[in-house]
């Protein structure tokens, strides 16, 4: 916790030190600045707290979001009628917590709305009962996931006991070619690094590639760092971050903004800072990436062939109904999903729309796009993106998690093959027997148009 003057401090060390309350038995008690309670957990967590006689220490620092259970499409003209959503409303009201409800301007997926509204700020700590909490590292906030009983503890004490993780820096160099996106970068990283190296670690992403990315793209990178097994992930906030945050709904204003900038500018790893591991990955000449197996690290360039794997990994190929050595290009697909906290921000919809403009979804393919938040949806409508999606034959859903985990009832039929912009291709994640290929929004959109897996780059040339 003390920064060794001879070694300097990492960005992670600095945020950690500013929030450390005390240490005991190998764990640090961290002060938590932002707590997000989602609709799956809200009613149960708040009821348990009542049962235990626990009061919320800082109700003014907690937000309740409706995301996991939001139905993507209205049934009988009614939206948001599920038991979870109702219970969440009741619980939020009862405890005086700010709720971003279905239909309201701020509603959306927690890790999309919190940065977008300027609620997950550089140098802050952020906790949610959702493994993708580290997403907010893309805006320089330290995101940590926890279980629901732990959330009761966080709400009651505004702190969480955390074992300080190992620290790994992943330097990414190169720049994005046309038609490629942050999703391709992080899928490539997953393939290179694998699932062992970063397990339980705090990752800092750095390098020229990261510097060149927008905040939205950095959020995508940190989101999928979770799939590397990381406990958390960060990108040092810089001019790009500050420009993106300025004027956000809850971002500091005027004098406080200037004061914040002063504090944020030092949020970077010192030159002498040492990491437990330093990994360099060259992203030059990167091709669009797509997964072929049932872990996000089972990934390959779109023009490649399914590798011939050892026994253990064969299971993934078998589940996916593929043969070793097979090309994925040309494989027929049934569905496309563009959405989730990984890839449902404005830039994601823009890149998909670029592919879709003037084109149609292939016959027999069901294509769905679900903006990550009401804010994204509004902006996408204003820029004409929604019209492009609709004209192409996509269904346009209500902001929420939708088909990512199927909590909103949006499941896919058994055996169907789907190209999805989400973060997990686990067996059964999107429904029993569903075969998920993770890819970028552009790759997903191109697959929708062709009705088969294909290289999105030809679709993007000349706009």
């Amino acid at each position: 916790m003390k920064a060794d003057p001879n070694h300097g401090a990492t960005l992670f060390d600095k945020i950690w030190a500013r929030h450390a309350v005390t240490q005991e038995d190998g764990k640090t008690l961290l002060y938590i600045d932002r707590v997000v309670v989602d609709d799956v957990r809200a009613s149960q967590v708040l009821k348990n707290m009542e049962r235990r006689g626990l009061a919320i220490r800082r109700p003014d620092l907690a937000v309740v979001v409706q995301d996991h259970s939001v139905p993507s499409f209205a049934t009988n003209g009614v939206l948001g009628g599920s038991a979870f959503l109702d219970a969440t409303r009741v619980a939020a009201r009862r405890h005086g917590l700010r709720l971003f409800d279905v239909g309201e301007a701020e509603q959306g997926i927690s890790h999309v709305v919190m940065p977008e509204l300027g609620l997950a700020l550089p140098g802050s700590t952020y906790v949610c009962v959702d493994s993708h909490s580290p997403t907010v590292g893309g805006a320089g906030a330290l995101g940590l996931a926890c279980g629901s009983t732990e959330l009761e503890h966080v709400l009651a004490t505004q702190t969480m006991w955390v074992r300080k993780p190992r620290q790994i820096r992943i330097r990414l160099d190169g720049e994005l070619a046309a038609g490629l996106s942050a999703k391709d970068v992080i899928l490539h990283v997953l393939g290179e690094v694998g699932l062992e190296t970063a397990r339980g670690a705090a990752i800092e992403f750095a390098g020229t590639m990261i510097d060149s990315l927008s905040v939205e793209e950095r959020l995508t990178i940190c989101n999928m760092a979770v799939e590397l097994g990381a406990r958390t992930a960060l990108v040092a906030p810089d001019e790009v971050t500050f420009a993106w945050l300025a004027s956000r709904r809850f971002a500091p204003q005027a004098d406080v903004w200037r004061q914040a900038l002063g504090a944020w500018e030092v949020l970077r790893s010192d030159d002498e800072a040492r990491f437990d591991a330093d990994i360099a990955i060259d992203c030059r000449g990167l091709e669009p990436q797509i997964t072929w197996g049932t872990t996000p690290a089972q990934v390959m360039p779109i023009t490649g062939r399914v590798p011939d794997m050892a026994d253990a990994s064969r299971a993934g190929v078998t589940y996916m109904g593929l043969d070793p050595g097979e090309r994925l290009i040309g494989r027929k697909i049934d569905r496309v999903f563009i959405g989730s906290c990984t890839n449902a921000r404005l830039s994601d919809l823009e890149s998909a729309a670029q592919v879709l403009a003037g084109r149609k979804v292939a016959a027999g393919v069901k294509a769905v796009v679900v903006p990550g938040s009401r804010g994204v949806a509004r902006e996408a409508e204003a820029r004409g993106l929604r019209d492009i999606f609709l004209a192409a034959g996509f269904l346009w859903g209500e902001p929420g998690c939708s088909m990512c985990a199927g909590g909103g009832g949006e499941t896919v039929a058994a055996g169907e093959r789907i190209v999805s912009t989400t973060n997990r291709n686990f067996e059964g994640r999107q429904g029993t027997g569903v075969r998920t290929h993770l890819a970028s929004p552009a790759t997903a959109a191109a697959a929708a148009v062709r009705g088969e897996i294909c290289d999105p780059r030809p679709f993007m040339q000349g706009g």
């Binding site: 500013r18 929030h19 309350v21 005390t22 005991e24 038995d25 190998g26 764990k27 008690l29 002060y31 600045d33 932002r34 799956v40 009613s43 235990r52 003014d60 620092l61 907690a62 937000v63 038991a83 219970a87 700010r98 700020l121 140098g123 802050s124 009962v129 959702d130 493994s131 909490s133 926890c146 279980g147 629901s148 009983t149 732990e150 503890h153 004490t157 702190t159 006991w161 074992r163 993780p165 699932l195 397990r199 339980g200 097994g229 809850f250 971002a251 500091p252 406080v256 903004w257 914040a260 985990a405 199927g406 909590g407 009832g409 499941t411 686990f426 067996e427 059964g428 429904g431 029993t432």
Partner: protein
Amino acid sequence: MEKFSQVRGAAAPLLLDNVNTDQITPVVFMRSLEPDYEKALFGRWRLAASEAEPFVLDRPHFKRAPILVAGANFGCGSAREVAVWALVAHGIRCIVARSFSEVFRESTLKNGVLPICLGVADQSAFEQKVVAVDGQAAFEVDLVAQTITCPDGTVFSFAMAHNERAALLEGLDDVALTLRHRALIDAREAQIAIEQPWLQSVRS
């Protein structure tokens, strides 16, 4: 929280790595405010198994096994605590794994379930015994002594952080434990309010 000191019974082998919480409790079984946790547990795998070759926890000897023995990175993926609740609903009180996902491990502790990682040197020896015994005799896990005793009398020791052990043994309330540090929390909160005033209310 429920106390844990000792548990005696069958040890069920599920010797796979990277068993994730989507597999432990698939979302399809969770679409209710009061889901059937017992039924949800490994729901998809159990449905897919045959009568001739049932899923390990459905085999007669393991139906109420209090000990589950797993591979590396057990409980990875989604942070859902229902995965632990479902294991508890089945009667699991102790999980011995090569390693755990951190969030899952914290959740076991909150629910009075003991997570054990044996030393690297002991792991496969222990797993072999579990497989060989095949539910025919009882293992005994003792948190006071920090040992697992196999039916043949072999004893394996495991390490456990002092606080975690004390909390499990006494069934202590995590919030009460933390609030012993209330003065320090107050001080840190006050300091953040001064140094980073922009991290205040989300209600404005």
